[in-house]
Each structure stands twice: as C-alpha cells, then as structure tokens.
C-alpha cells in the first residue's frame, strides 16, 4: 500500500459516488434531496475529470470542471426557484404530488 494512487482508484470512487447519487434520485421523494443527489452526481463526474487531467498530463479536464461548476451554480439557482414556485402552488415539495403536466 505504498506509492501513488492509481487512476483506477479514483475512477472506482467516482463510480461509487455517482451510483449513490442515482439511488438518491430514485428512492427519495423530497425534491430538495433529489436535487442534492444530482449535485452529488455532478461532483462524481468532476472527480473523474480531474483524475484524468492529472494522469494524462492535460489541463483540459480541469477547465471543463470549471465550466461544470458554473453551469451547476446556474442550475441550482433556477432549480431552487422552481421548487419555491412549486411550494407556493402545492404547499409541498413531494415529487409524487407534482403532476401538473399529467394529461
């Protein structure tokens, strides 16, 4: 257990974090927590990007992580605004009760 950590260790950690995020989206019903699980998935992918950037001696991965963070910030601002608007209409953030688009 000495020496440098291989790329595969980072990729496996990233895959595990992504899977936890997917489970969170599938089993929770609180829209806010589903949103947090989505952030978790974005972070798992960012970890892959940075790990590849390090092990392939390229800077592009880190630049893309920068853009992902900017887009995530925009997404959170809009998503939370939508959740607040939903709460005003429904008095709830339970995704099972949100069926405005059902025909």
């Amino acid at each position: 257990m000495t020496g440098t950590v291989p790329l595969n260790a980072y990729l496996i950690l990233s895959a595990a974090l992504f899977a936890i995020g997917v489970i969170g989206v599938l089993i929770r019903r609180n829209a806010l927590i589903i949103f947090m699980a989505i952030e978790l998935m974005l972070n798992a992918v960012n970890l892959s990007f940075v790990a590849f950037s390090r092990f392939l001696a390229s800077m592009d991965g880190q630049i893309i992580v920068f853009f992902v963070m900017a887009v995530a910030a925009a997404e959170v601002a809009l998503g939370l605004a939508i959740i607040i608007a939903l709460y005003r209409n429904k008095e709830s953030v339970d995704v099972d009760e949100i069926n405005l688009l059902r025909g």
């Binding site: 970890l47 392939l56 592009d60």
Partner: protein, 168 residues
C-alpha cells in the same frame, strides 16, 4: 504515502454521500453534502488541482449549499419518512437493483480498461514550476475564451430566470 491521504478522504466522501440520501432531516442531508464537498476538495489537492480544490470549497460548499440551506429553512420542509418504512418496496427494489447493475457494469469497465490516451504536455513538473492557477487562467483566456464568455451569459440568464420565477 498517497494512500494515507486518499483512503480517509475517500471513506469520508462515501460515508457522507450515503448519509445525504438516507438521513431524514433535509438540514442534516445538506450538511453531509458539505462534508462530501470538502472530502472531494482534498482529493483535488491530492491530484494537484489546487485551483479547482479552492473553487470547489468557495462555489459548492460556500455558495450553492448556502442557497440550499436558505431554501430548506424558507420552505420549512418536514421530515420525510425513510423509504424503507413507506411500503413502497417496488420502487426501492427497482432503484437499488438498477443501480447495482450500473455499478457492476462500471466496475467491469474500469477493471478491464487500460489508459492509452494521448498524453498532454502539462506534466507534473511543469505544473509545479508555473503554478496550477496560472495555467488554468492562461488556458481560460486563450483556448477556452469563447466558452468562458458563454458561461457568463449562462449565469446572466440564470439570474434573470431565477428572479422571474421567484417573483411570480
């Protein structure tokens, strides 16, 4: 030596990530997510991405999580019963089953895969000599100038959109 840093950070990241999706109180979930962000920031430092590590703490743990906590407290969201007490086993079984399949597939793919990508010119020595932040900044304002400008436009649209949605 690197394993001594990687191991605990990975363990903290996984443990806090699991508690994000199992805890009942949304405030605790948000605080666990902050823990995940800090652990990932440490991993970025280990990967010699100092700029990304600092931005991770400032943007994610700082700005985004404050926004989350603000909304949780504003909406006064009650405790949700945990999924396993809800008599909706089909959803639970389907969700965890599908994700286990996904994880297995990823593990096989990662395990059988050998990196043979084209190596870039930003070696560890160069990054240490010039500085990570300087390199990221130089690339952002040369090769990635147009995406960078588009990002500012996206943020502007997000600000306007959030205000329109919240005012209604």
């Amino acid at each position: 030596m690197e394993w001594l840093v990687f191991g605990p950070l990975a363990a903290v990241a996984l443990a806090t990530a699991v508690s994000v999706i199992v805890l009942r109180n949304p405030i605790y979930c948000a605080l666990s997510l902050v823990g995940t962000f800090f652990a990932l920031s440490g991993l970025y430092l280990l990967l010699q991405a100092q700029f990304i590590a600092v931005v991770q703490v400032i943007v994610y743990a700082g700005a985004i999580m404050v926004l989350f906590l603000f909304v949780i407290m504003l909406l006064d969201v009650g405790h949700e019963p945990p999924p396993w007490l809800r008599q909706d086993t089909p959803r639970l079984v389907l969700g965890i089953g599908l994700v286990t399949l996904l994880l297995l597939e990823l593990a096989v793919a990662i395990g059988s895969w050998v990196s043979h990508g084209i190596r870039g010119s930003y070696t560890s020595d160069l990054v240490n000599a010039v500085g990570n932040t300087q390199l990221v900044g130089r690339l952002l304002f040369t090769d990635f100038l147009i995406p960078f400008e588009i990002t500012s436009f996206i943020l502007l649209i997000a600000i306007v959109g959030a205000m329109v949605l919240a005012k209604r």
